[in-house]
């Protein structure tokens, strides 16, 4: 079977490798698809629903990060309908937790904020929930602020697949879901955390940050983790193909 396949992205015929997802195929052909939970070198979970695309012959939207590209497939990555759904997903994220950009360590360096600007989220049509959430400052170097978490689970995956420490998991169900350290310990009491900080660097928002950074100061070094994840991730079970 040939390793190269042909697909149509937004009407343009492009080449992709067999086994690539639609998201990867689009990226390798310089086609933009937004995505908050996807991270190069980590496994995919399809959690954020920002990367949805239209596939010809399929009457529902498919997450491009978990859908394999197939020979002859025709994909639409931008349309009014897609934009509307992506906006809704973002607005729901904003309404779900307490995202206050102005005072956030990641202001101006935040993926959630950047997508909101790019996709034209000028207002949120849903009522904010304003949940009362905890800020865990018990770790000597890092802090997790659940108010800013979008539950992308990048931290969970990078810790499992690249560092191999298995510190993070998801506790609770539905709207009560949250990232939890080990068996719901304070991060500072973690038995397995290696203090490597990869979870902090891959976090798309200010939910995970280094301590002592004032507003706007936290700039994540994702390139480092991306490289490491691509090299090491292949050796870890559950890593990318």
């Amino acid at each position: 079977m040939p390793n190269r396949i042909s697909i149509r992205i937004d009407g343009e015929l492009v080449q992709a490798e067999r086994g690539q997802t639609i998201f990867e195929a689009a990226q390798s052909n310089n086609k933009f698809i937004p995505g908050l939970c996807q991270f190069k070198g980590l496994s995919t979970v399809g959690a954020c629903r920002l990367c949805v695309v239209e596939v010809q012959g399929v009457n529902r939207l498919l997450p491009s990060c978990t859908t394999p590209a197939q020979d002859g497939m025709a994909v639409i990555t931008k349309s009014a309908r897609l934009n509307d759904y992506r906006r809704q997903s973002l607005e729901l994220l904003f309404a779900e937790k307490n995202h206050v950009c102005a005072v956030c360590v990641s202001n101006n360096h935040c993926e959630l904020q950047a997508y909101a600007q790019r996709l034209g989220v000028t207002n949120v049509r849903y009522a904010y929930r304003y949940p009362k959430l905890h800020v865990d400052m018990s770790h000597p170097r890092f802090v997790i602020d659940h108010n800013r978490c979008v539950l992308c689970t990048r931290c969970v995956r990078v810790c499992n697949e690249v560092e191999g420490a298995y510190v993070w998991g998801v506790a609770g169900r539905g709207i009560g879901s949250r990232i939890a350290c080990e068996m719901d310990r304070a991060w500072g009491n973690s038995a397995s955390c290696t203090n490597c900080g990869k979870c902090v660097q891959v976090c798309p928002t200010g939910a995970l940050a280094e301590k002592g950074f004032a507003a706007e100061e936290m700039v994540k070094r994702q390139d480092l983790v991306e490289r490491l994840a691509t090299i090491r991730g292949t050796m870890n079970p559950g890593g990318p193909r």
Partner: protein, 488 residues
């Protein structure tokens, strides 16, 4: 029959306030209250946040003087980290603070108070605003805008943003001053100085037109509080918190900021969301004291810059050593404006101002930190307690307007007594009550209503509180649908 007169909105101040005046059976004023009608809740909702986020969060208390809250907050954070910040950082923070004093004082005088002073207390509200100033005193309005722009631009050149900059951080500032920015601010200074000079001259020339206001605006002895150097020079960023009596007697000197609570008590007022701080050794309400420009000049021996000191000498020659009428807040404010410009020039000439080491780093070394500075409106105190990880467990903020709460209420009563007799409200009373409140330049929140008038309504209530009569002055212009931006 006793009555209550309510002024539901005081315009051209920062925030929202209401005034109630109570009349006794004879129709004479029996009391007056200033109500601050909004609650913000910063002390409560910051619980659990990392202490180093406090500067950014508390700066949002105000859009007029965010720099004051930033600086009080970073000083409290410095105390929690127990660090001494690099010398350049200290100079830069003070420079930023001076720029903010200049812009805030310019806003207070030119945009908010000058319409009363130059167009007349009883002028038609339709023109008694900054737009009327532009029409009738175009040069002065231009001066006001230029002076405010000078301050705001200097803030932007240093901190990158005019409002809520993230430049000041616990431990110092996050970027050194560039020599370009220094040059740019220096080149704007001469114009700012000449405007400041002109405006002091102007206030001196119009003082004599307001004998009635001078006599009735909070014209009563109080204590005063303000920061000074050990030698008694005026200080805005860092200094000893001093309390002096009307007669000039030194009542207290707070060297370590943490000790402020020994001298300042806070009383909760049943009729207002604004608490009323008082000087503890004298008790409540005898411990009434004032802060702000008038108080600072009454506490300090001198300003420490030549032109401001010359003006201060003239001020004292004219008004006595410790003038007490709140009307002189305007005069004191303009002398401070001149001092601010002079001080900026000095700071920019400091040898270490361009140093690149501007930030100290540390973790949590103290579980409690207090930052005290002078905001344009007076002493500002941020007091935080944290757990060993640095999460805020308790916060207390005492803002300048709070310190003046008792004095403002008493001042309103005094103005009312002057203008209300036999249950008859004299023409101009409402305007003067508003003007008095404005003299204190209270910053009740982060919104300014420089344009757009809210109609003044007087509610007169009978003894059981039943409404008897409502007098309304028609709105001069309909309130703008969207708020004007809080800053030029």
């Amino acid at each position: 029959m006793s009555q209550t007169i309510t002024i539901p909105h005081v315009t051209r101040i920062e925030g929202h306030a209401r005034v109630s005046i109570h009349l006794d059976d004879a129709g004479e004023v029996s009391g007056a209250q200033l109500h601050v009608t909004q609650i913000r809740g910063f002390e409560k909702f910051t619980e659990g946040r990392p202490y180093y986020e406090m500067p950014a969060i508390t700066a949002r208390i105000c859009g007029i003087c965010p720099v004051s809250h930033l600086l009080a907050s970073v000083k409290a954070c410095d105390a929690i980290m127990a660090v001494r910040i690099p010398p350049a950082a200290k100079l830069l923070r003070e420079l930023l603070h001076c720029a903010q004093f200049v812009q805030s004082h310019a806003l207070s005088f030119f945009h908010l108070s000058a319409p009363d002073l130059l167009l007349g207390m009883d002028a038609d509200p339709a023109i008694r605003n900054i737009a009327g100033m532009i029409e009738n005193h175009p040069q002065l309005a231009r001066d006001g805008i230029a002076l405010r722009r000078f301050g705001q631009q200097a803030i932007e050149r240093m901190a990158g943003e005019r409002i809520h900059p993230s430049w000041t951080v616990p431990g110092g500032v996050n970027k050194p001053l560039s020599s370009d920015a220094r040059e740019a601010i220096l080149s704007d200074l001469p114009v700012a100085r000449s405007i400041a000079r002109r405006t002091v001259k102007l206030i001196k020339s119009i003082l004599d037109k307001f004998p009635e206001e001078i006599a009735s605006f909070s014209n009563a002895p109080t204590m005063y509080a303000g920061l000074t150097s050990p030698a008694g020079e005026l200080r805005w960023y860092d200094g000893l918190l001093r309390f002096v009596s009307q007669e000039g007697e030194q009542l207290a000197e707070v060297e370590d900021p943490v000790d402020y609570a020994e001298y300042i008590g806070e009383a909760a007022m049943p009729h207002s969301y604004l608490k009323a701080p008082y000087f503890k050794p004298r008790g409540f309400p005898a411990g009434e004291y004032r802060v702000g420009p008038l108080a600072r000049l009454n506490v300090a021996a001198r300003c420490g810059t030549p032109e401001a000191d010359a003006e201060l000498a003239e001020y004292r020659q004219r008004l006595g050593d410790r003038p007490q009428s709140a009307f002189f807040y305007h005069y004191a404010r303009l002398i401070e404006c001149l001092h601010g410009v002079e001080r900026m020039e000095r700071l920019l000439d400091e040898r270490r101002i361009l140093d690149t080491h501007v930030r100290a780093t540390a973790g949590v070394n103290e579980l409690e930190g207090v930052g005290i500075i002078e905001a344009p409106r007076g002493v500002l105190i941020h007091h935080y307690q944290v757990d060993e990880h640095g999460a805020i467990t308790w916060a207390n903020l005492i803002v300048a307007t709070g310190h003046n709460n008792l004095a403002m209420s008493r001042g309103v009563e005094q103005v009312a007594r002057h203008f209300i007799h036999n249950g008859k409200v004299e023409e101009g009373m409402l305007n003067r009550v508003s003007a008095l409140v404005r003299a204190y330049d209270p910053c009740l929140s982060c919104s300014t209503h420089a344009l757009g008038q809210v109609p003044l309504v007087i509610d007169i209530h009978g003894p059981q509180g039943e409404p008897l009569q409502t007098l309304t002055s028609a709105p001069a212009m309909s309130p703008p649908k969207s708020r004007p931006p809080s800053s030029a």
